[in-house]
């Protein structure tokens, strides 16, 4: 076992140990539990960075297997796949997770179940890392399911809130529905080819002996799981609801890492997916539809977390779409850069929510004081600029890379749609910013101070354990994008693809996308800046579009109808059949036949002693007679 593998294993299992330490030893000590969890994830982070710096100039892919289960028919291996992609993803996961761990100290301060919270965070970190390092699809599924469970537990962390409980259920069941496809696809692959690792999986398409329609079917089935986990249309409806969970959780799980697991999986099995042109086409189309749908819904959201949730879906859609179009690097690059700035945005939102005790941007604006939260506001604006794709933020470069990838793969329509989506992205992001920056109503402000005299932190920023993670993420959001520029020698290409020629900058795309993003911001500025009170943007002014968007294209209603109108009635009918037909008719019926035939036979019992005697004597004679014959 090489050093790299050993360290990777150590990094993955540090949070695993932490779960048990918290669960068994420190569950009654809040701060101690937090300390254990933070220590564990710090260890992972330090190891990951060490691995990165010792392999900075290109990673030699290594795999190592532990045998887990051997039967004569197949053997299940667990292992570690150490390459550039997994190392990059590990850095993202560990870093964001560490920052979220620290941030939660402030955000969840005084929370009763803090030990539980940190145990679940550790569980999530472990499961996610296990997923990231998996060399086989089966192990990926293993981690995939576990992150789902951790997500369920964390969304439902405040389980006493009915909305949180419902959201947790919805998230789990909906992703599980997608996982049905994943599981079937996995089973078919297992049965047809055995427990093969990604290397072999990616080469399958090249072998002529393999049935290509089978591969397409598997790719589509596995993509179904990705649609669930990465919230692709129409299985995206759980993600906005999942915002009921604590905000640090939303930042970690529902923005930066878990929802990106699907993207990671496509990237990991890129060769496999690209062996099926139909599957790739399908993936690209689903991605772009998702992106468009989510971006339009985000236009009218009032809840800051919902805005970000829809924007997450929209960005995930772009990544899926570009991967489907064949833009491997663009998808992965956007995955990483998005992880940083979206985590940043969520944590900023958390800081605001922590401060104002509301999720509604209008109410925040009304209470006033956003401008006084200097660090939060600055980092929020940095994050928004990155999301909108303004130079020199990370989002600018990664979004351009997507557009370039579309153009290079001759999908011009997708490139234009991406432009449209980035226009909407810039618009809804800055709609939020301008609303938050609304001038405070003077009279209201005074009232505010009188009424909320106790809230002495009014006008202050959040505590340092919350702002420092913001600053770190902001730094990443600003500078990460340069990794892909010729200024740094196209470092990202070199690291990820081991490619040495430096790609030149695509000035045309840069100019176009900047114009589009600035137009979006300007549009938002015209409609929202400098005013007070609730106001409507251009979308809300058109009645039917507003209805459509506010009702989220009625997708939630569709699912509600599906469950209430089909699944539960179906179950009720089956239950009725079980009770009435199988039990009452079948089982009790048999019993009743016995009872009635017993009653019939019992008529022979007339209580006449001598008749019984006579009968038995007659039978005796009869038997003797028979015996004679035989």
């Amino acid at each position: 076992m090489s050093q790299n593998i050993l360290l990777t294993v150590l990094a993955v299992f540090a949070p695993f140990v932490s779960i048990f330490i918290i669960g068994i030893l420190t569950r009654n000590h809040k701060m101690l539990s937090a300390f254990v969890a933070i220590l564990a994830i710090s260890l992972s982070t330090v190891i990951t960075f060490y691995l990165y710096f010792s392999n900075m100039q290109g990673v030699k892919a290594e795999t190592y297997y532990f045998t887990w289960l051997v039967t004569d028919y197949f053997s299940l291996k667990f292992g570690v796949l150490f390459d550039a992609l997994s190392l990059g993803m590990m850095i993202v996961v560990c870093l964001v997770s560490l920052l979220v761990h620290i941030y939660s100290l402030g955000y969840m301060h005084g929370e009763k179940g803090l030990a539980r919270f940190y145990a679940w965070l550790s569980l999530f970190s472990w499961a996610m890392l296990l997923f990231v390092i998996s060399p086989t699809l089966l192990q990926a599924f293993f981690g995939w399911e576990l992150v789902g469970a951790a997500s369920f537990l964390l969304i439902g962390f405040w389980f006493h809130k009915p909305e949180a409980a419902a959201a947790a259920k919805k998230a789990f069941v909906m992703t599980r529905f997608g996982d049905f496809g994943f599981f079937v696809g996995l089973l078919i692959l297992l049965v047809s080819f055995g427990n093969i690792d990604f290397g072999v999986l990616n080469q399958l398409g090249k072998s002529p002996a393999v049935n290509h329609s089978l591969l397409t079917a598997c790719a589509l089935l596995i993509f179904m799981g990705i649609m669930g986990k990465s919230a692709q249309f129409p299985l995206h409806a759980w993600l906005p609801d999942a915002m009921e969970g604590p905000t640090p959780v939303s930042a970690l799980i529902h923005a930066a890492t878990m929802v990106a697991a699907g993207i990671y999986l496509i990237a990991r099995a890129f060769g496999f997916f690209s062996s099926s042109p139909f599957a790739m086409e399908f993936i690209a189309v689903v991605g772009i539809i998702t992106s468009f749908v989510a971006a339009t819904i985000a236009l009218v959201q009032d809840d800051v977390k919902k805005v970000m949730a829809y924007s997450t879906i929209s960005q995930l859609g772009l990544m899926v779409s570009v991967l489907g179009a064949g833009g491997y690097k663009a998808g992965v690059f956007h995955l990483f850069s998005h992880a940083f700035f979206k985590a940043l945005l969520f944590l900023c939102a958390g800081s605001l929510i922590h401060h104002f005790n509301t999720n509604d941007m209008w109410e925040m604006a009304e209470k006033g004081g956003v401008r006084k939260m200097k660090i939060t506001l600055t980092t929020l604006i940095i994050g928004s600029l990155a999301l909108a794709g303004i130079f020199p933020m990370a989002g600018f470069f990664s979004k351009d890379a997507i557009i370039v990838a579309f153009e290079q793969n001759h999908k011009e329509a997708f490139a234009y749609l991406t432009m449209l989506i980035s226009f909407m992205t810039a618009y809804y992001t800055f709609r939020m910013i301008f609303v938050l920056l609304s001038p405070e109503p003077a009279h209201h402000h005074e009232n505010c101070h009188e009424e909320h005299g106790h809230s002495e932190h009014h006008g202050h920023d959040s505590p340092y354990n919350m702002t420092i993670p913001l600053i770190i993420l902001a730094v990443f959001s600003v500078f990460f994008g340069f990794l892909d520029t010729p200024m740094l020698g196209g470092y990202f290409d070199k690291f990820l693809l081991n490619k040495h020629e430096v790609e030149h900058l695509h000035w045309g795309v840069m100019v176009k996308s900047t114009i589009v993003a600035v137009a979006g911001i300007a549009f938002a500025y015209i409609q929202f800046a400098g005013k007070t009170g609730r106001r409507e943007g251009f979308v809300e002014k058109v009645g039917f579009i507003k209805n459509l968007l506010v009702n989220k294209y009625y997708i939630d209603d569709f699912y509600f109808l599906l469950v209430r109108g089909f699944v539960i009635p179906f179950a009720t009918v089956l239950n009725w059949i079980d009770r009435k037909i199988i039990n009452d008719t079948g089982v009790n019926g048999t019993g009743n036949i016995v009872i009635y035939s017993g009653r019939f036979v019992s008529r022979l019992m007339n209580g006449m002693l001598q008749r019984y005697l006579g009968t038995s004597f007659a039978i005796l004679i009869f038997i003797l007679f028979l015996w004679q014959i035989i």
């Binding site: 197949f74 576990l146 469970a149 006493h160 259920k169 069941v173 049905f180 599981f183 039990n583 089982v587």
Partner: protein
Amino acid sequence: MNFPILSSILIIPTITVVLILFTKPEQKNTIRVISLIGTGITFLLSVFLMVSYDRSAGGVQFMESVSWIPSYGINYLMGVDGLSVPLVFLNALAIFTGVMVSWHIEERVKEFYALLIFLATGVFGVFMTLDLFFFAIFYEVAVLPMYLLIAIWGSGKNREYAAFKLTLVLFFGSAFVMGGILYLYKAAGLNTFSILELKKSAQFTTNMQSLLFLLFFIGFGSIIPSFPMHTWSPEGHACAPSAVSMLHAGVLMKLGGYGLLRIAIPLLPEGLRDWALVMMALSMCNIVYGAFTAIAQDDMKFMVGFSSVSHMGMVLFGISTMTLTGLNGAAFQMFAHGIVTALYFSSIGAMYNKTHTRMISDLGGIANIMPRAAFFFAVAGMAGLGLPGFAPFVAELMVFIAGVKKYPLFGIISVISVVVTAFYIIRCIQRVYFGKTNPKWEGLPDATNFDVVPLVMLVAALLIFGMFPSLVLDLLQLETRNLVAKLGVM
């Protein structure tokens, strides 16, 4: 002669029962402690058995043989192989935790513990004997006390009906088993009831095998329970006290699968081949229909009961594939499902002791007042819906792999149950444990430290066997390999 460990496993619970019978009914704590010690020793012995079973040698070990009725070839023949060792362990775990779970029972404590342990003794006997005659005797011993346990200590107004139905259906099944055994004895004509002897030298014609297999399939199918003889199971679970449900669903149902794997398949491999499709069709009903029906249940124990129907369908499905992976999966599923259901029922019991209702619609927000009970139900639920890391995932994975390989279409249909199971479990967790607490339940105490001990043991077992499935699977494989060899190379 070595230390007769198998007879000890059988005799120690028997002695415990006798000791209980000689204790005054008023001395409730003495009775409980006696039961705990007796089952505790048995549990340790079973752990010892599992550890000391020689995995490299395989085969039947720890054999004990005493001639009983030589003229009919009946011997007190005990021995364990890779298939029975895990199940002996499972039963010991279930009865040990079951004794702890029933600590709070105040009514007729003496009779309760005596019957409960008597029942477990019968199950031990079934798992350890290699003589068909003793198999039949122990089988009846295992089934009989259930009637009293449910009818006397059960809950709900339906309990006598449930107990009656359960007993009748199980005896209906055991009549077929008994007939099958006697006919098998006669047809083999070797004047022996020893399974080993029969396995070695009995010859049956194909038609005979088919007929005998049908008898055993009906007999064991009614205890597994296979559709459409499953209706005793949810009702029986629902009315039984927690410990009885644990034993019942955790172990008693496994007698059916065990009987198929121990008697029917090695002796009548042709029979399985004839009936495999029927078995597969019925198991489909179990898996999918059971899972959907579970959604509609309002009583939590009914829900778990139907989930058992669904999960035991996996055992049948695994067997019907007639492949090594399928048989491994089926055997492992018996083991894993035993632990999961024990955990389900004990955690429901921990809540029911306080709330005295299990109606999902009456409950809500229980996690606020009883975080421990909620936690353990959630763990059981996660394990039950096949979350990786827990034992059932491994079993289901193997069954599904074998299923998809052998019957691609039906294999995929059976995977639907994964989604449906997630739906009803998560929905139940949401409606019972999450949300606002009904003021009616405010102030109820949570499970005590003592209550938690059995639950922790079960969770530990789930995790250990989920993460290191080889511990059990290597044992099971020793035997399933022979079965597959009997079935011919598939």
